[in-house]
């Protein structure tokens, strides 16, 4: 037993194990694996086929009922619903000029004469133009407008004196 090459013996054993894998028991393992995969795939195909049948049956049910889902009455219902939903009942869209004018009437100083009142929804600006004899009345007018939350942001746009000596002014407010 002396002089046996141990490393050679280990290499031989590894070679033997490799051969074993590809020979005696390795062959049935791969075959069993192949069969299992084939069976699994077959099952998958069968399941897909049955799913297709179920989908076709459901499609047929839906198509059969489809005639009940179209027609003049369906169009009318859908149209009414769309119109009602688009009526635009947003309170901010419902603007009553009278409300603005009543508010304005209550805020104008007696010594001031208005020449113009403009409401611009797109620019979100209200413009008040007028005429008065004295700068004090103009100042009072600004204070009066500012006392209302709607006109709290009043800014002077222009002041001038006309040929008759009266003070003409334009005030702007953003809303």
């Amino acid at each position: 037993m002396t002089g046996v090459n141990l490393s050679q013996s280990m290499a031989a054993q590894a070679e033997k194990r490799k051969k074993h894998l590809f020979s005696a028991s390795g062959f049935p393992i791969t075959i069993i694996l192949l069969i299992l995969i084939l069976v699994g795939w077959g099952g998958l195909r069968f399941y897909l086929y049955s799913l297709d049948k179920k989908i076709t049956a459901l499609d047929a049910t839906i198509t059969d009922s489809e005639s009940k889902f179209q027609g003049e009455s369906i169009d009318r219902i859908a149209d009414f619903d769309t119109r009602v939903s688009l009526l635009g009942a947003d309170p901010s869209e419902l603007i009553d000029p009278e409300t603005f004018l009543i508010k304005l009437e209550s805020l104008i100083v007696p010594q001031v004469l208005l020449t113009s009142y403009e409401y611009d929804d797109r620019e979100k600006v209200c413009t008040v133009s007028g005429r008065t004899d004295n700068f004090r009345y103009l100042a009072e007018q600004i204070i009066s407008l500012k006392s209302d939350p709607f006109f709290s942001d009043v800014k002077i746009d222009a002041i001038s004196r006309n040929t008759e000596g009266k003070i003409e002014f334009t005030l702007k407010t953003n809303f």
Binding site: F22, S23, G26, F27, T30, L33, L34, I37, L38, G40, W41, L44, R45, L48, L51, D52, K54, I55, L58, D59, T61, I62, S65, E66, K68, F69, Q70, S73, I74, D75, R76, I77, A78, D79, F80, D81, T82, R83, V84, S85, L86, L87, G88, A89, P91, E93, L94, I95, D96, P97, E98, L101, T115, S116, Y117, E118, Y119, D120, D121, R122
Partner: protein, 255 residues
Amino acid sequence: MSLKLLVIPFSILLILILVIGFVKPDIGLLQEKQATYATKLDQAKNIDTLLGNIDALSALLKSESEADHFVRNYFPQEMDQGRVIDILNFLASKSGVAVDTMHFEEPGSGPIAASAEVALEETVSAGVPLAGILSRVATPKTFSTEIIVKGRYENIKNFFQRVAHMNRAHKTRYFSIKTAEKRGDSKDDDTEILAGSFRADFDFMEAAKKQNALYAATFTKGTFAMTSYTIISDWVTENIPLLEKPVSGRPNPFQ
């Protein structure tokens, strides 16, 4: 023995081909079909609900015929500039103001119409929302009208109030009251006469035809959302009768 040795690598190769080439794509297909099946199953289950909803909505629309009539007049299907002229003229004469000018702008030219065209909503199929798929929603078109009237302050204020509450959908964009410009040769020196200007956008929308209840969100519920209608019907106080087709016919239209 050598043949037997060849069979094994071939079997492994075959297994790999089967798994990569057939089993894996079929698994993907299976997932797709399962999703389709689930959607179709939901649709089939919802069909009964949809049929119930259609019956309920149909009955509701019949019982709410007044609302139906109101909505169709308030928010018409076609551009009705003629009706708007009639309404404004009717309200002007009722308020005691004189119509000076009227100006109309083409539909779809305003910024409102342009922004409305991109409106989208979630697509439904048999009451089942299809995630990630958006449908184009019917969108209103708009034409703009400006009217300038002349009259006393109280009359113009009354005119504005009536116009704001008319039975025709609109959005007030601008109104003004100004002292009327004095003309040099005018003998009319009535300083109480003012010029009132009112501008509004009028929406209209064509009726959507060939609707399918399976794909319309309306039928996922058995009732109409009438809150907007209630608010608007309370807001409208000026019910101007519809303009009827007049008797027409003239042998020489120029004399």
